[in-house]
Amino acid sequence: MVRVDAVLVALAVASALGAISAQHQARRLHTAFEREQARAQALEVEWGQLQLEQSTWATHGRIEKLARDRLGMQVPPEGQVLVVEP
C-alpha cells in the first residue's frame, strides 16, 4: 500500500514538474515568436522604405537630367531613327 502511494506521489510530482517546464517552454517559444513577428514587421517597413528610396532615385525627372547633363544624351532627332520592320 505504502509503495503504491509512493509511486503515485512520485508520478504526481513528475507530472507537476512536467507541466511547469511545458509552461515555461511555451512562454519562451511565445517570446521568440513575438520577436520574429516584430522582425517581420520591421523588415516589411524597411522594404517599403527601400521601395520608396528606389523610386525616388528612379524619378523620371532625375533620370532625364542625368542623361542630359552627365551622360550628354539626347533624344534622336528625326532622321536618325531607324525602324526595323518585322
Binding site: A26, Q51, S55, A58, T59, E64, V75, V81, V83
Partner: protein
C-alpha cells in the same frame, strides 16, 4: 504480587481536577468559527466577488494590444511605387506628469526642432493631453525615448510618401495625419487602400514582456494595393510638356489627359500649376485644383466634329458636299455669328478643317434639337463619369426644351454648353474606336477591354478620322500638331471664357486629337487656360503640346510608325548628313 500504584501521565493526580466543562466547547466553537469565516471568505471571493477580482487581476497583467495595419500602396501600371506609408511617431505629453528640468526641455526642443518656449507653452497650456509634434521620424523618436522624460509619450502613426512628387500630385491626391484619403485616388479608393487595425489580448510579465497570447480579438487586415492605369513615363512626359507650355505662353493654368484607345484606360492626367504632396504647407486653391475633372469650360471648336459626324450619319451631308459659308457672317434672330476669315463655298470636310463656325451652324440647322441633345447625352456631356473622383463636374447640358434656335446654333460650335477636359477626351474615343464609346478606367485593366456603346457607325468614324487628319495637317487649323513618323488627327478649340455671365477677352485654348490616325492608339486632350504671351489660338498654343505628348507616348508604347519616313532613308544613306541636318529638336 505487590500492588504498586503506578503514576502515568494520563493518570496524573494533579490533572485529576476536572476542567470546567465549557472550556473545550469554547475552544471548539472558536476553531469552528474561524474555519467557517475562512470558508465564507473563500466562497465570497471565489463566488460572489469573482468577476471583479478577475478583472482586477487581468488589468494588472493582461493588455489589449493594437496590431497596426498598413495602408495599401499605389503603383503605376508597371508596378512602380507612387505612394507608400511608412511608420513614424507622434510625440505627446501628459502635462500633469511632464515636469521637465530646463536642460531636459532644451534637449527635447532641439530634437523636435521646436522653439523651447513654444514647447514649454504647449506643456503649460492647461490641457490634459497635448501633441508636441506629429510625424516624427523613427530615429528621432528613438532618441527622445532614450531621454526617458517623465510624462512624454509616443504613439505609432503612419506617414505617406509620394516619390513622384508634383508630377503625380493631382491624380494621387493625399492623406491626412490619420492616413485617411483626402483628395484624388487616395479619397476615391480609400476603402480599398485603408487597412483595418487588429487587436489581441496578451499577458505581460512584470518586465513588460509578452508571455502569453490569450486571444486574437481581431486580426489586422492590411490595405490592398492599387495599380493605376497611369504610366509613370507618359505622365512625366505630359507634365514636362505642360510645364514648358505654361512658361512659354504665360498661362494661368493648363491640363492634359492621355487615354488608351483600346482599353479606355487613363495613361496620364496632368494639371498645372501643381504642388508637392510631400510638403503641403502654404498651398493655394489654384495649385490643388484638379482641372481635368473639376473644371467645366465651354469647349469651343473641339465640339464641331461631333455635329459634322451626326450630319454624316444622318445622311444630310457627305464629305464633299459644298456648304456656303458666305461672307463670314450669319445672322440668326438678333445675333450674328462670324468666322475668323471668309471661306466662301467650301466642302463639308473643309468646314471642319478650317473650323468654320458658319459651316457648322448650317449643318446643325439641318438637324433637330432633339437629335443634337441626344448625341450630346450619349457622348456623356452633362453626366458625371462616376470614376469616384472627388469634386467631379458633370459639365452643363441644358434640357432640350429650353433651347432657342440661336442656342442650338452656338452649341454646334461649342458655346452655351460646357464639359470637363476628361469628358471631351472620352468623347473623342468615338472617332478613334470605330464609333464606340467605352467607360474610362483609372486602374489597370488586366482583362479584356470592356465593350462599348455605339454612337456612330464605323463608316462615319472612319470618314471623320480622315477629316480630323486634314484639320491637323497642312491647310488645317493645327499643322503644328504634326509629329514625325506618325499620322495625327484632331481638332483645335479657342473659346472665350465666361466671366460673370459675359464673354471676356480671355481664352481657353484646347486641342483634342488621336494618333496614329490610321489605327488610333491614344487620345490626347490638352487645355491651356488664359495664354497671355501673344498667341491664344488652339493651333499655336495647345497643338504643339499635343504633338510633344503624343510623340513621346507613341514611342513609349512602341507603336510602329505609320507614315513613310523619308528622312529615314536619308539617315541610311549618310549618317553625317543626318547629323548635320539635325536641328536639335528638343523632344521628351
Amino acid at each position: 504480587m505487590k500492588k504498586q500504584r503506578t503514576v502515568t501521565f494520563n493518570h496524573n493526580p494533579l490533572l485529576k481536577r476536572d476542567l470546567p466543562a465549557w472550556r473545550p466547547r469554547m475552544v471548539m466553537l472558536a476553531l469552528m468559527g474561524c474555519s467557517l469565516a475562512l470558508t465564507g471568505r473563500a466562497l465570497y471571493l471565489q463566488g460572489v466577488n469573482d468577476d471583479f477580482l478577475q478583472a482586477k487581476g487581468e488589468s494588472r497583467y493582461a493588455r489589449v494590444l493594437e496590431v497596426p495595419a498598413t495602408r495599401g500602396r499605389i503603383t503605376d501600371r508597371h508596378g512602380d511605387i507612387l505612394a507608400v506609408s511608412t511608420p513614424v511617431r507622434a510625440i505627446w505629453a501628459l502635462p500633469s506628469d511632464a515636469r521637465l528640468e530646463p536642460a531636459q526641455a532644451r534637449e527635447l526642443a532641439r530634437l523636435l526642432e521646436m522653439d523651447v518656449n513654444e514647447l514649454n507653452g504647449k506643456i503649460a497650456g492647461g490641457r490634459d493631453f497635448v501633441y508636441l509634434k506629429r510625424q516624427v521620424p523613427p530615429e528621432v523618436a528613438q532618441r527622445i525615448a532614450d531621454l526617458r522624460l517623465p510624462g512624454i509619450h509616443q504613439q505609432k502613426e503612419f506617414r505617406r510618401y509620394y516619390p513622384g512628387g508634383e508630377v503625380m500630385a493631382h491624380i494621387l491626391g493625399f492623406t491626412d495625419l490619420e492616413d485617411k484619403g483626402q483628395e484624388g485616388i487616395e479619397l476615391a479608393f480609400d476603402k480599398r487602400l485603408s487597412g483595418r487595425a487588429g487587436a489581441r489580448r496578451v499577458i505581460k510579465d512584470r518586465r513588460g514582456q509578452i508571455v502569453e497570447d490569450v486571444e486574437a480579438i481581431r486580426s489586422p487586415r492590411d490595405g490592398d494595393d492599387v495599380a493605376l492605369s497611369v504610366d509613370g513615363k507618359i505622365q512625366y512626359l505630359a507634365w514636362s510638356a505642360l510645364r514648358e507650355a505654361m512658361e512659354e505662353h504665360k498661362a494661368k493654368a493648363a491640363a492634359a489627359v492621355v487615354l488608351d484607345v483600346r482599353s479606355g484606360e487613363v495613361l496620364a492626367l496632368v494639371n498645372a500649376p501643381t504642388f508637392n504632396p510631400n510638403n503641403r504647407n502654404n498651398l493655394t486653391g489654384a495649385q490643388l485644383r484638379n482641372r481635368v475633372f473639376t473644371d467645366a469650360f465651354e469647349p469651343g471648336s473641339v465640339m464641331k466634329p461631333f455635329i459634322a459626324a451626326l450630319a454624316l450619319e444622318r445622311g444630310k451631308v457627305r464629305l464633299n458636299t459644298p456648304i456656303d459659308t458666305g461672307s463670314g457672317r450669319l445672322t440668326i434672330g438678333s445675333a450674328t455669328i462670324s468666322d475668323t476669315k471668309r471661306h466662301g463655298i467650301i466642302t463639308m470636310a473643309q468646314v471642319v478643317q478650317k473650323s468654320s463656325n458658319i459651316g457648322t451652324v448650317k449643318m446643325a440647322q439641318q438637324l433637330g434639337a432633339e437629335e443634337m441633345w441626344h448625341l450630346f447625352d450619349q457622348l456623356g456631356f452633362g453626366t458625371q463619369l462616376n470614376l469616384g473622383f472627388p469634386g467631379e463636374t458633370s459639365g452643363r447640358l441644358r434640357p432640350v426644351k429650353s433651347w432657342r434656335p440661336i442656342e442650338q446654333a452656338t452649341m454646334s460650335y461649342g458655346h452655351g454648353i460646357s464639359t470637363s477636359l476628361i469628358q471631351m477626351a472620352r468623347a473623342y474615343l468615338v472617332f478613334a474606336r470605330e464609333g464606340e464609346l467605352v467607360p474610362l478606367s483609372l486602374t489597370r485593366l488586366d482583362g479584356a477591354p470592356s465593350s462599348g456603346r455605339r454612337v456612330f457607325s464605323a463608316e462615319t468614324a472612319r470618314q471623320m478620322r480622315t477629316v480630323l487628319a486634314m484639320a491637323a495637317g497642312p491647310g488645317g487649323t493645327a499643322p503644328r500638331a504634326q509629329i514625325p513618323g506618325y499620322t495625327v488627327a484632331g481638332k483645335t478649340g479657342t473659346a472665350h471664357k465666361l466671366e460673370d455671365g459675359r464673354y471676356a477677352r480671355k481664352y481657353i485654348s484646347s486641342f483634342v486629337g488621336f494618333a496614329p490616325a490610321s489605327d488610333p492608339r491614344i487620345v490626347v486632350a490638352v487645355m491651356v487656360d488664359e495664354p497671355s504671351a501673344g498667341s491664344h489660338y488652339g493651333g499655336t498654343v495647345a497643338a504643339p503640346v499635343f504633338a510633344r505628348i503624343s510623340e513621346g507616348t507613341l514611342r513609349t508604347l512602341g507603336v510602329a510608325p505609320d507614315m513613310p519616313l523619308t528622312p529615314l532613308q536619308l539617315a541610311k544613306r549618310s549618317a553625317e548628313e543626318a547629323a548635320a541636318g539635325s536641328s536639335g529638336r528638343e523632344n521628351m
